[in-house]
């Protein structure tokens, strides 16, 4: 009898627990989904920019011996918002199709690394600049966030982020600085090098730059 009761309880538990878990999982997913969709592209870009600025303002991380740690944190934050693979794909454009999976596997991290370094170098020089969010456009899965950096000498630098929605999250696939699209610029330059030289020459030049950067990083 005692066993029976226990058996019944167990039966109940066995039936109810997965149901409860499923229900809880659904609620969590919904909350998460609501949270993700509630954020506009501007809010999502702002979250990332604010996080980076918090890292830069952190007195502890400002110390020279903390440079590696600070940069790693910035890199991690930037990676969460930037879709570097999409950027690399768009930068290579027609030439992306001709690339083997190995070449693509080699190119994307190389491109990401150089772009990240360039972004980090720029952003590290920001101290008291004001960042203004001045507009937003959404067209289906694409959006654009318009910002303006006001420097300490009162110079306004317009920076627009182009975003693509992937799995409910807005990801940056191009940055337009004062009217210059990084992706468009790289597309033209990459195309020129590949057409006049070769894809291998392009990768060689990029690797050379990466080596230079790594050498300097190690020397620090």
């Amino acid at each position: 009898m005692r066993f029976k009761i226990q058996d019944l309880k167990l039966k109940k538990l066995i039936i109810c627990y997965p149901l409860l878990s499923l229900w809880l999982f659904a609620v969590i997913c919904l909350i998460h989904a609501v949270d993700v969709y509630a954020d506009t592209p501007t809010q999502q870009v702002k979250q990332t920019v604010d996080k980076v600025l918090d890292i830069l303002k952190n007195k502890e991380l400002k110390r020279p011996e903390k440079t590696k740690e600070r940069r790693a944190l910035i890199r991690k934050t930037v990676l969460e918002r930037f879709d570097f693979e999409e950027m690399a794909k768009r930068s290579l454009a027609l030439h992306w199709r001709n690339r083997t999976p190995e070449e693509r596997k080699e190119f994307v991290p190389l491109y990401t690394d150089l772009l990240e370094r360039s972004y980090i170098k720029k952003i590290e020089s920001y101290t008291d600049e004001k960042i203004l969010y001045i507009g937003e456009k959404i067209e289906g899965e694409y959006s654009e966030v318009n910002t303006k950096i006001v420097t300490k000498r009162n110079v306004e630098v317009p920076i627009d982020y182009k975003l693509l929605r992937k799995n409910g999250k807005w990801e940056v696939y191009d940055v337009v600085i004062e009217g210059v699209s990084l992706v468009n610029n790289y597309r033209t330059q990459f195309n020129k090098i590949i057409r006049t030289n070769s894809y291998e020459e392009l990768v060689k030049r990029m690797k050379n730059k990466q080596e230079e950067e790594l050498f300097e990083e190690k020397a620090r």
Partner: protein, 476 residues
């Protein structure tokens, strides 16, 4: 007792009043001292405060303290005094002479029944006499009215002179104000470049220090050379700002060491939409002070010719003359043939003419006045040609600078894009440093050209307002 009581009460009241007065007076004095102290403190604090003035405030202050305008205002006073003299010439002029002194004795016996020719002079009395002459011009053949006209026009010429000086000061103040702004913008541009340059030098130095195979010492030398040039330009700009500030301070009556700055931070193109050139041409004829001066000057010169011409003719007038004298020791003799200067009384009304006849002096003066008139006509002819040219030139300058702002803005924005793309390519390893340097140079040149175009636009608009006399209308 009652009286004594009243007295003591009165003295008590008086005593209370006195005490109240003393207390009130002390309190008042205390408050006054407090207020005085506060005022002194405030004045001292104000002395130490930085003075920040907008363009309008600078113009107002410079006009207020200008010695040139003060001089021109006194010129106006001179003509006002001449007008007063001309106006008063139409009224009677009265001359009074009153004297008193010791009087020699004179008795009627000295001449009656026979004239005594040896009388000893005995001064034993005093005399007093008064003579009054009144002259009222009747007809002057246009002399008075011509002088009145000349003086009235003279006042208007002097007023236009004040406007001319004010206009000069407005233009000078604008030039200094815009120069400071231009220099500040140039300084910002230089500092923007310098920041990047210093960063690049640090990076190049680091590369050499760590023995990077990508390091190039020649690049470092080039960067340092460029930095020297940037610093030289920066020093020149700083000197320009300091000199322009000094000149502006002095023109506003402040001492050289005053902590001063202008309210604007950056030079922007003139916001007012320009009218058609024909509007400016019309306005120059109406408002330009030189035109007013010439128009009124010609009227004055013409009136002076008439005034000189009136000297060909006599001046007609009526008059009244009265004389009275009396002495304590002289007998009065009633005889029309005998006149005693110390004892008499008479009056007379008369009509008269005053006429100076010469053989060429008046004609010479008329000719001289005519020559002065013609000199002014020639001046007007020159102004009629030169001022519209000045207006048109300022207008075309403004139009040119307006277009230049657009063109240089396009140029520097493209240079900026070139620089951004060149840096992006350099960071990606697909662009060289020379491309970045070329783009940076082009950006600096184009941006500097844009700043100069904005300055030229501002100045040509100021010149246009000066050439048309509209700057005065604006501050009025």
């Amino acid at each position: 007792m009652k009286m004594v009581g009243d007295k003591s009460q009165k003295s008590e009241v008086k005593g209370q009043k006195n005490s109240l007065f003393v207390i009130s007076y002390s309190l008042l004095s205390f408050y006054l001292l407090m207020i005085g102290g506060w005022l002194i403190d405030t004045a001292y604090a104000n002395d130490n405060q930085k003075i920040v003035l907008s363009l309008d405030q600078c113009i107002k202050k410079a006009v207020e303290v200008s010695p040139e305008i003060g001089e021109s205002r006194y010129e106006e006073e001179v003509y006002k005094s001449k007008k007063l003299q001309a106006d008063s010439a139409a009224y009677p002029q009265i001359e009074v002479l009153a004297i008193a002194g010791p009087s020699p004795e004179a008795k009627r016996e000295y001449i009656s029944p026979s004239i005594n020719t040896s009388v000893a002079t005995t001064i034993n009395g005093i005399f007093g006499s008064a003579d009054v002459t009144l002259i009222q011009p009747i007809y002057t053949f246009g002399k008075i009215s011509s002088f009145k006209q000349a003086a009235s026009s003279g006042i208007r010429v002097a007023k236009a002179g004040v406007d001319k000086r004010t206009s000069d000061i407005i233009l000078r103040t604008k030039e200094l104000y815009y120069s400071i702004l231009m220099a500040k913008d140039m300084r910002n541009l230089i500092l923007e470049v310098k920041d990047d340059l210093v960063e690049s030098i640090k990076k190049a130095e680091k590369q050499i220090e760590i023995g990077s195979p990508w390091a190039d010492e020649i690049n470092l030398f080039k960067l340092r050379t460029f930095l020297g040039e940037v610093d030289r330009n920066l020093n020149e700009t700083e000197k320009g700002i300091a000199l322009a500030k000094d000149a502006l301070l002095t023109s506003m009556g402040f001492s050289r060491g005053t902590d001063f700055d202008i309210a604007d931070t950056s030079l922007t193109p003139e916001k007012k939409i320009p009218e058609d050139v024909s509007v400016y041409m019309r306005n120059s004829i109406e408002f330009r002070s030189e035109f007013v001066q010439l128009k009124e000057g010609l009227k004055a010169r013409n009136a002076l010719i008439d005034a000189e011409k009136s000297n060909y003719y006599p001046q007609l007038f009526v008059g009244l003359k009265a004389s009275v004298a009396g002495a304590t020791n002289r007998d009065k003799v009633d005889n029309p043939y005998i006149y005693d200067p110390l004892n008499h009384a008479y009056g007379a009304v008369f009509i008269g003419i005053k006429w100076s006849i010469d053989f060429g002096i008046t004609e010479g003066r008329v000719k001289e006045a005519r020559a002065e008139y013609h000199k002014l006509i020639e001046k007007k002819r020159f102004a009629d040609e030169a001022i519209p040219f000045q207006v048109r030139r300022a207008y075309l300058d403004m139009k040119e600078s307006e277009k230049n702002i657009v063109e240089t803005e396009k140029a520097y924005k493209n240079a900026r894009k070139w620089l951004i793309a060149a840096i992006a390519n350099f960071d990606m390893g697909i662009g060289d440093a020379k491309e970045v340097a070329d783009a940076a140079m082009a950006y600096i040149q184009m941006k500097a050209n844009n700043i100069r175009s904005i300055y030229n636009h501002r100045m040509s608009f100021a010149n246009l307002l000066y050439a048309t006399g509209m700057d005065i209308q604006e501050i009025k």
